[in-house]
Amino acid sequence: MDPVTLEVTRNALSGVAEEAGVALRRTAYSPNIKERVDCSAAVFDPSGDLVAQAEHIPVHLGSMPASVAAALRAFGELRPGDQVLLSDPFAGGTHLPDWTLVAPVHRGGTLLGYVANRAHHADVGGMAPGSMPGGATEIFQEGLRIPPVRLWKEGREDHDLVSLVTFNSRTPQERLGDLRAQTGANRLASQRLGELAERLGQDLLFEAMRATQDHAERATRAAIAGIPDGRYRFEDVLDGDGVLDREIPIRVEVMVEGERVVVDFGGTAPQQRGSVNAPLAVTMSACYYVLRAVTDPDIPANAGAHRPLEVRAPRGSLVHPEPPAAVSAGNVETSQRIVDTLLGAFAQALPDRIPAASQGTMNNTLLGGPDARTGGSFAYYETIAGGQGARPGRDGMSGVHTHMTNTLNTPVEAFEMAYPLRVREYRLRAGSGGDGRWRGGDGIRRSLEILGERATLSLVTERRSRGPWGLAGGSPGSPGRNSLIRDEEERELPAKVTMEVVAGDVVVVETPGGGGYGET
């Protein structure tokens, strides 16, 4: 395909995904999707390979293709008007709150491809509000597990299925609204892909899909060729799984051979009892994220860009667990550590282009309980930013989300109007960034006061025992710290905990600073 048609059709194809993403965000009901933008939309070719994706958070990047593959595995062939819903992390999902909807696109009897979108649903049942319980040891405790099912069959919604899946949430109305938004976004994307086929002609559309993948592959290979060949090993650890207080190693060997990269997780810890297990799709997302960050962020994310990468993740390990492993923290915490480990390896190949470790956690904070103001109950979930690792040539940013997430905070005024809670403090932790020629960014200190009679607190955090590492002689950032102030007495809390709190208690989360870069 000529370089002009290539660029013009690439724009059109990515436009389909982007428009579907905007529609999903606009029509979704829950703040988690509308305000925090925890959702994605994508277009696939007839073989189920990714063509274009509008992603808002990186952890969805590599995991959407797995959803299409799972839907096709389950049903062989999809009929016009079908839409497949799934959430099972062992069959195309990431963690249970992420619901993915896959639809085939037909035109005049020909399969043009697939469209899919994913949204993080605020509650999908399980043992604690928000469906990310700290103490889970099996996936069944984490909420409703949805294998690929046809929510729509040949243009008709299966009302029985809809009521089954929404009934299992603590907030069924909201689930219904979000699910309808997802359905609508897929319909819109199908319509747009059909229009594109009309405008270009089917043959040119298929050629454009192939060409845009080949283009991304060429660009990725060219960028990899600029990375010195070699084998680069690195090891990092998780603090623990919330069940056993024991460090969990992640080991990686990155092999750069000409225009390809092999990532081997051999030697990584086996899957754990707690919820830190990262389903393969999450591990793949982390690998794709790093590949994109170390090559050229401008290269479009599609199947072609991923072809030069091979990932070897041993079955039954932390990074490729088998059912019925609990996985809710794999998506939000382990994914961050996989990124740290890979960047640590790439730093040896590209010493001037890789930052020191960033905070390496999302500091998941969940509070729920009765709300006397409404007579009902409340459920609050938020992730807290921290320090970015220092970059060669400049300091790390302070109080910012890094790597696998980029969700916005809830404004303090919106938060206090919505929940029986008060923010006492929301400051940077001065000096928490690691020392170095360039300093790591500072973490955050956020204190929440409980105003209601009681509440259940869950913390799912990391980097509480060791701070994020420095590079090239830079010092590590300060580790994070969780504590509870009750009757003016402060006591430290574990990295992962679920506990009861009462009126007047103040929960203090201090997030890690980024590592420093270079000797001072």
């Binding site: 703040p31 990186p58 290269i299 400049r394 302070s398």
Partner: protein, 669 residues
Amino acid sequence: MPERSLGVDVGGTFTDVVAQDERGLTVAKVPSTPSDQAEGVAAGLARAGVDPAALDRFVHGTTVATNAVLERTGARTVLVVTEGFRDLLEIARQNRPKLYDLFADRPEPLIRGELVVEAPERVAADGTVLGSFDDDAARQVAEAVRRLDPEAVAVCLLFSFLQPGHEQAISRALGRAGAPVSLSSDVLPVFREYERASTTALNAYVQPVMSLYLGSLERRLRQRGVRCEVEVMRSGGGTFSADLAARSPVHTLLSGPAAGAWGAATVGRRAGFGDLVAFDMGGTSTDATLIEEGRPRTTSEGNIGGLPFAVSSAEIHTVGAGGGSVAWRDPGGALRVGPRSAGADPGPACYGKGGTEPTVTDAYLLLGMLDPSSHLGGSLELHPEPANEAMGRLASSLGMEPRACADGVLRVLEAQVSKALRVVSVERGRDPRRYALLAFGGAGPLHQGPLARELGFSTVIVPRYPGVLSALGLLASPAMTERVRTNVREATEATAADLAATWEELASDARQTLSKQGVESASMTRSADCRYQGQGYELEVAAPERDAVTGEALAEAFVAAHEDRYGYPGPGQGIEIVNLRVRAEGPPPRFEPPEVPAGTGADGGILGHRAVVVAGQERDCVVFDRDALGRGDRIEGPAVVAGVDSTCLILPGQTGTLDGAGNLIIREG
């Protein structure tokens, strides 16, 4: 009789002037004077050739505040926040600007932590004061502020939109003598502390420089005999007095683009098209705006250099591609255009100032769309040779013929602009077939044809003066002011009396502001921002046009607006009213540009013939002189219509007709 009015819009390179008096419209461009914009404005006044003393209106679009923010040359500003929130501006919303770029930085906060003072006060979410914060405490805060030696002070305390007392106490303690003070409860009494603080900080930061500028401008204009009040264009549309602009400069941050959007709306409305999509293609970027019922859409989610401001501004979608954009081959072998631009120096290769990279403008020249002897706006000579060389190098790296490559550059550019046009229309559920496309900016009219065809616009408007539409927008803008206040409650609980009382308070405040500018009769538009409980976004809904508006009526309007915007109505209950708004607008200006005399057939305007590559094919095109055409003259494509500040290409199959205002109205067939 039309007013005698002068609109002066300052841009990066040129200061555009449009004057209206009994002789009609006079249009001029003078060089901008970045070190003191007032100089260029004065030169513009002189060039316009109007009698300064006879002017009824002087309306100004300025980038003084904008530049002060972008170049970080504003005042040394101290921020006062609630204890515990020192780093409010730096933490922002916790997100980073680019997902995969490890080296991309967020914008530096306008005010660093060392210039922030924490006030030991707290107001709860229901407006009650926790603990005590007396005048003594306020004095201590003021003292801490003074020690930091500020040139401006911003105060943003939590929940001050419910309880402004603490902010006011600090303001009193600071006194009138010191640095100017911006209170968040005055600037923007709505919830969401980061956006409110950012807006307040921006206001304080640019206030001294804006105040100085407007003072010196007024003096200069008075010296030259101008007697009327100086009005400044607001980002959200309409104008306000220079005096108000000096105190609330945050409303001028997007003054220029707003003037462009209002200029487009005015031209469209007068040509009989209230609903249109306008795009302004400049040198480095292209702006797209949706205009409905003759008004550009506004948003309260504007930002400047990544810093948000929540006062209203024209809703504009920008892509980084325009006439100066550089074309390049990416590592995967695709032809790309922008976002890098050759700028003015060295500029496109054809400027002959040493530029070696091919740009969009070079493509125009090689394809015959620009005449090398036309001098592009009068001052610049165009050189085909360097353009040819630059395009040739790119073409051979892509394995293409140079001319096919130049044609490809335009197609890639159009693919990007087309996306921007879709974002403001199709993606909002608007069907382009029901809208007109208005093409302006120096390069816009060259792309009208392919873009209109791709999206299905049935009519294209190319205005009489595509290069000075912003200055025209100034003349057509009435005095305007807006008021907003947060008061969250369930729609079902809001009685008509409650709502009317708040709206009346806001309206009377707004009326007072306008009357200080000499505007005695104003039309009031009442609206409310509503949402479903728990949603993170509000939707502004106009209050039904009747006296007693109940919460239920607003809720109904909200459900309809929700369906219109998002395609489904939502559950229909659990609706909250979040903000109440009033917009007060003075009478419409008497902007009455004269009719263009009837034409005698387009043939009289023929300048000659030129070979132009249209959609990959070389065509013999008639070249018309825009200024020699009259009302009713028809031009069949392919044709080039050359104007002073812009060139228009009419495609084969399109026909352009000059309307009474001198706009080219282009349709298929």
